[in-house]
Amino acid sequence: MKKRRDKEKLAYLFLTSMVMIILSSVFMMFYFIISRGIKVINWQFLTQMPQKGMTAGGIFPAILGTLYLTIGAICFALPLGTSAAIYLTEYSAQNRLIRIIRIGINNLAGVPSVVFGLFGLAIFVKFLNFGVSILSGSLTLGILILPTIIRASEEALSAVPQSFREASLALGATKWQTIQKVILPNSISGILTGSILSIGRAAGETAPILFTAATFYTMRLPNSIFSEVQTLPYHIYALMTEGTHPESQVPIAYGTALVLVLLVLGLNLIAFALRNRFRRSKKW
């Protein structure tokens, strides 16, 4: 028995040390980004244009570009994703078609991000002739986050108790009236949470916008949906690979990385807080 107890202790020690390895990696990542990024960030860094061939100045165009792309992506994906989720939860019986749709959604979620980039390049940039632009990039990112939005919305919709639907139908409401007046108002918080998470995802993606939206050297702010843009993640990539002055570009990259991490984790935190708040205020 003692030998078995010792074995157990050894195993627990192993598990604990594995967890510690993961935790310290997470800690190290944040330590480097925060400690080195914080020295660079100030008001000018956030609000000025880049200067001297990207070796000085701020990252305002990149912040703005990321904002435009994510807004565009969500405008495209949110209505589409929510409607898809409504069909899956409210209308469908468990049949073959639904099974195929679900497999489609799961597999779309697993497509490598660079493949979305190629699709965007072939369809939006070349075939529809939108060029390398905010529009092409937003649509590409929109398709990328579609599965996430569908899943989150589906979860939110199916959390509405069945009795709500039955009560509404019993009052003589049609299916659409029930969805509009009962189900959507009661699930909007969950749908919002999912959308905020997808915005975070879209803001951090680089590979899909490499050939559809992003540019490094630009001196102008985008003035239409057909302009190319700088974005935060692409800016980091370009600073590390295209520049010729690493000593002045690496600090800018650290600053940009901190802004991006704060943006993405901030969005995650907001989603988390919203979810908890709505959960508490639910009456069922």
Binding site: R4, E8, A11, Y12, L15, M18, V19, I22, L23, S25, V26, M29, F32, I33, L80, S83, A84, I86, Y87, L88, I100, I101, G104, N106, N107, L108, G110, V111, P112, S113, V114, V115, G117, L118, F119, I143, L146, P147, I150, T174, W176, G200, A203, G204, E205, T206, A207, L210, F211, P233, I236, Y237, M240, A253, A257, L260, V261, V264, L265, N268
Partner: protein
């Protein structure tokens, strides 16, 4: 009045149906585009020569499009990542679901979830400025950006997938099994390793497969830290060039309609089919797991 009502309901229903079909539409669209733009390459070169060719010199004259080094590069780096991530990820899952107190559990879940939130370009960036130089010093390498650096970072990125799905699988193992095992006099650890983990095996396999899919499709990190040499990898300390990095690096300069352009789309076809196969297998395991655990 009634007829009009029904018509409206019907139209609305079909709008929702159409929206839910868009995912399939996009998935089919993506595969059609990849094949349409990829297949013209094989008018110029032999398919076998493409798949088994050992040299990738797309811009030389005459160009060579042998993708074997790139495919092996992808698998090599993914293999490295899994060797690191599977033990770490599954251990963390066991710890979270069986040993941790509720408070510790929530903290660990949050910390691991943060790894998913961090964009991949940040991993690549830290690989270049921190991990690469550090490994170079530690192991006395000629260059810090190699397969090992990429595998380590990819491992960190796949751990959340492996941990959260494995944890879910472990958690859903019926309590009866556990109690039966304790009643037979087994210690907690014996119960975990001989009863709970085997019962959750297909769920854990799904987790590993999806983690593998994530690693093989990851682009920015490997593009930035794998070193970029298109040679058949022989050690983890040498640079490699996976499929994703090649596409991301060269698509910008490839002339539309050239054989280089078609070759990159063919590469994407291979990547797409590999990840599709992984996802479908994972899907199969998951359905099976759900059926047996009910």
């Amino acid at each position: 009045m009634k007829g009009k009502f029904f018509l409206k309901e019907k139209i609305i229903k079909n709008i929702f149906l159409l929206s839910s079909l868009t995912s399939i539409f996009f998935l089919v669209g993506i595969s059609l585009i990849l094949f349409k733009e990829g297949l013209p390459l094989f008018r110029e070169i032999n398919f076998i020569k493409f798949l088994w060719g050992k040299s990738w010199y797309p811009t030389c004259d005459p160009p060579e499009f042998g993708v074997l080094p790139l495919i092996l590069g992808s698998f090599w780096i993914t293999l490295g990542a899994l060797i690191i991530a599977v033990p770490l990820g599954i251990s963390a899952a066991i710890y979270i679901s069986e040993l941790a107190t509720p408070k510790v559990r929530n903290f660990l879940k949050l910390a691991i979830e943060m790894l998913t939130g961090i964009p991949s370009v940040i991993y690549g960036f830290l690989g270049i400025v921190v991990l690469g130089p550090w490994l170079q010093n530690l192991l006395d390498l000629p260059i810090g950006l190699c397969s090992l650096t990429a595998s380590l970072l990819l491992a960190l990125m796949t751990i959340p997938t492996i941990t959260s799905l494995s944890e879910e699988a472990l958690f859903s193992v019926s309590k009866d099994y556990k109690e039966a095992s304790y009643a037979l006099g087994a210690t907690k650890w014996e119960t975990i390793i001989k009863v709970i983990v085997p019962a959750a095996f297909s769920g854990i396999s799904t987790a590993v497969l999806l983690g593998m899919g994530r690693a093989i499709g990851e682009t920015m990190t490997v593009l930035m830290v794998a070193g970029g040499a298109a040679v058949i990898p022989r050690s983890f300390l040498q640079p490699a060039r996976p499929i994703t990095a090649t596409i991301a690096l060269e698509m910008g300069e490839a002339v539309v309609g050239s054989s280089h352009y078609h070759a990159l789309f063919s590469l994407a076809c291979i990547l797409f089919m590999v990840s599709l196969a992984l996802n479908l297998t994972a899907d199969y395991f998951l359905t099976k797991f759900r059926r047996t655990s009910q």
